[in-house]
């Protein structure tokens, strides 16, 4: 283990920049403030890369800042650690974060509140880094809540529209439900370990002491922690907030609601893999929830018309894949998909942002089309990222998604693999549907939008191109054995142990071939329906299934009817009956009683000095009389 004072600066620099922009941002102006924010993340990225470079092969670097809580033998430190897993997350967060900061310089240039945007964005980077670098569960939770706060602030960034504020509230409240499970899990973990005489939340200590816990306890704890993950990582049944979170500015969707924050749940399970690995029941549940979410969200994405909604449901679906991998115990594969997904999904979101920017805020794909020639850079990067997410051979998504599907298959979970396979086909379909609707065919935008169609400035297209490159090459780190083998597994070996390889290479090739066939079918179907010359992308197919999918299975309506309305009714009852009559009644009653009793006595206090003097004399005389009586 190495210790280094350097680590604390990785999260602190963005925090400092955030504070400077918060207090002096208006004074130093929009562009310098944005440049400062980007430079801070750049500095963090440089430091993270240096740490990554210096990291000993199987080592951990630590930085103890100070002891945060000391109560008896229970000690929580504010201390950061970097190991192989954290290093990966650090590079994702700071690297993608840097690109998105730079992109935002262009995207937000016309926004009056650009300074506030960068304050929030830097604050988010800070909390995300605390989340991935914290060396104990409580610090992770601090980061976890912090990124939730920043997510809320950024979804409601354009708060003048009440819908955006409502979307922010929804994200925050749904996340609270998950966080309740998370914090209960932490409580039970602490309490059960304390019963064995161990007081700790430190990851390294937990890993050592985990055998003290009974299997039932571990199952309960991991189940509760997973509830937290379903909230943050938008899994069934708590995924409803993520599509609405698209109300925020597009760079936010790319950074927070695709590349980094929503993967926190996957990171948490990977960080606590020693705990989850001992709870087969929870893992099975995670696998089922993951596969179900992947499938369910993909079916919704098939019919959405809002460019960002498609990507949002696609994110939910891809997160489902990650949890499917977690459920299979393939934590390395899950983190690999986090890594590759960060690139191509950030690229897709930023590309869609570029399109929205060019069309002056239009998000409806039925009013797009034919943008290929107008914005070639955006188009080509979008093509690359679409191929990557669809899983075309030798793109990043191909390697990571295939790895997950292969792990699922080789673990014998054939049904889940089947679901994953169908989802892969649907992914290819809806992504190519989007590509065709946005960039190909006739331009369906109105004249006004057409007139000022333009390619985005270089500050926006360069990040796109870098991310597009990442959407291909990052996957090559985790190639399967039949190609050149996985450096990825080797890198994460100190964390997750050696990856076992089941199954024959021929089976693996067969499974891969099958996946590719399904993907190709999805792409071809999308071409037939939306891409072929003469196709009518904007026409609305009717039919029950289409309607259900378009309306997102009415999940929001069901939740509204089953949960929100009863809750509101109960709240109304308490607000109109209990609060004014019982609570206020008790408080006001005490006050009224005191006042009523005091009217009797306050007559004595007339304010007239001579009355007081008279009472004084009377008292003195009474005392005198009493003592004289005693004498005789």
């Amino acid at each position: 283990m190495m210790s280094s004072d350097l680590l604390r600066w990785i999260p602190l620099i963005p925090l400092l920049a955030s504070a400077i922009n918060l207090f002096f941002g208006r004074a130093i102006g929009k562009r310098p403030a944005g440049a400062l924010a980007s430079a801070a993340v750049g500095a963090s990225f440089a430091l993270a890369f240096y740490v990554f470079w210096q990291l000993p092969a199987s080592g951990v670097m630590r930085d103890l800042v100070y002891t945060w809580i000391q109560s008896g033998s229970f000690q929580i430190n504010l201390s950061f650690q970097v190991d192989a897993l954290t290093a990966v997350m650090l590079l994702i967060v700071t690297g993608i974060g840097l690109l998105i900061h730079i992109y935002s310089l262009g995207y937000m240039a016309h926004d009056a509140d650009m300074v506030r945007f960068f304050v929030y964005l830097n604050l988010f980077i800070f909390f995300m880094l605390v989340l991935v670098m914290g060396d104990n569960l409580l610090l992770l939770f601090v980061g976890w809540e912090g990124v939730g706060l920043c997510s809320y602030l950024l979804i409601g960034f354009w708060y003048h529209d009440p819908n955006n504020a409502i979307a922010g509230n929804k994200a925050f409240i749904v996340n609270r439900i998950g966080d309740l499970g998370f914090i209960l899990g932490i409580f039970i973990l602490v309490a059960e370990l304390a019963r064995q005489g161990v007081w700790t939340l430190d990851f390294a200590e937990l890993a050592k002491q985990v055998k003290l816990l009974s299997p039932a306890t571990i199952t309960l704890v991991t189940f509760l922690l997973f509830i937290g993950a379903t909230g943050k990582s938008a899994q069934l049944p708590l995924f409803v907030w993520l599509p609405d979170a698209m109300a925020g500015p597009t760079p936010v969707s790319a950074l927070i609601h695709a590349a980094t924050m929503v993967t926190a749940g996957v990171y948490m399970t990977a960080r606590l893999h020693f705990l989850f690995a001992l709870a087969p029941a929870t893992l099975a549940l995670i696998a089922v929830v993951g596969a179900a979410t992947a499938f369910f969200a993909a079916t919704i994405a098939l019919t959405q018309n809002d460019i960002k909604k498609v990507l949002a449901y696609s994110t939910v679906s891809q997160l489902g894949y990650m949890f499917l991998a977690v459920g299979m115990g393939a934590f390395g594969a899950a983190i690999f998909h986090v890594f590759t997904h960060a690139f191509f999904k950030a690229c897709l979101f930023l590309g869609s942002g570029s399109v929205i920017h060019a069309l002056g805020g239009e998000q409806d794909m039925r009013k797009m089309g034919g943008l290929k020639s107008h914005m070639p850079r955006t188009y080509w990067t979008y093509v690359v990222a679409t191929l990557a997410i669809a899983g075309a051979p030798f793109t990043a998504g191909f390697f990571s998604k295939d790895l997950i599907l292969w792990q699922t298959f080789s673990h014998g979970a054939i049904a889940l693999w089947g679901v994953g396979l169908v989802t892969a086909g649907m992914t290819a379909f809806y992504m190519f549907r989007q590509l065709f609707m946005v960039f190909h065919g006739e331009c369906r935008a109105d004249e006004h939008a057409k007139a000022h169609l333009h390619e985005s400035p270089a500050v926006m297209t360069w990040p796109l191109m870098i991310l597009a490159a990442g959407s291909i090459f990052t996957g090559w780190l985790g190639a399967p054995e039949y190609l050149w083998g996985s450096r990825w597994d080797h890198w994460l070996e100190p964390i997750f142990g050696k990856v076992a390889h089941h199954g024959a290479v021929s089976t693996e090739l067969l499974v891969t071939g099958l996946t590719l066939a399904v993907v190709a079918a999805g792409i071809y179907l999308a071409y037939l329906m939306y891409g072929k010359p003469g196709a009518q992308p904007a026409s609305v197919p009717s039919g029950l299934l289409h309607k259900i999918s378009l309306n997102k299975y009415y999940v929001d309506e069901i939740y509204d009817f089953a949960l929100v309305r009863p809750f509101t009714l109960v709240a109304k009852f308490f607000a109109s009956i209990v609060d004014p009559w019982v609570i206020d009644g008790a408080v006001n009653g005490v006050a009224a009683t005191t006042r009523g009793l005091s009217t009797i006595w306050r007559g004595l206090q007339s304010g007239n000095v001579q009355h007081y003097a008279a009472m004084f004399v009377t008292g003195a005389l009474a005392l005198l009389a009493y003592y004289l009586g005693q004498l005789s």
């Binding site: 005091s598 206090q605 304010g607 007239n608 001579q610 003097a613 008279a614 004399v617």
Partner: protein
Amino acid sequence: MIALHNYLILSAVIFSIGVIGVLIRRNLIVVLMSIELMLNAVNLTFIAFSRYLGSTDGQVIVFFVMAVAAAEAVIGLAIIISVYRHRQSLDPQEMQLLKW
């Protein structure tokens, strides 16, 4: 030679006059004078006992009381003046603001 009880009776009468004056007069200056009356009634008692018992302790205390009474008169009159400047009145019945 006048007997002790004569002094005490005189003192008690003066003291009572002082008490009644404090309680019933409607002018703060007279109230202050009544307090002086009570103090001097007490002084008279001290002196009478001092003579009767052949001790000087009582006389010493009388000096103290006179010093305190002088200080009290100074402060009391100063307060009365500033009260009068505020309210153009010296009636204690009208000064009843300090209540519940």
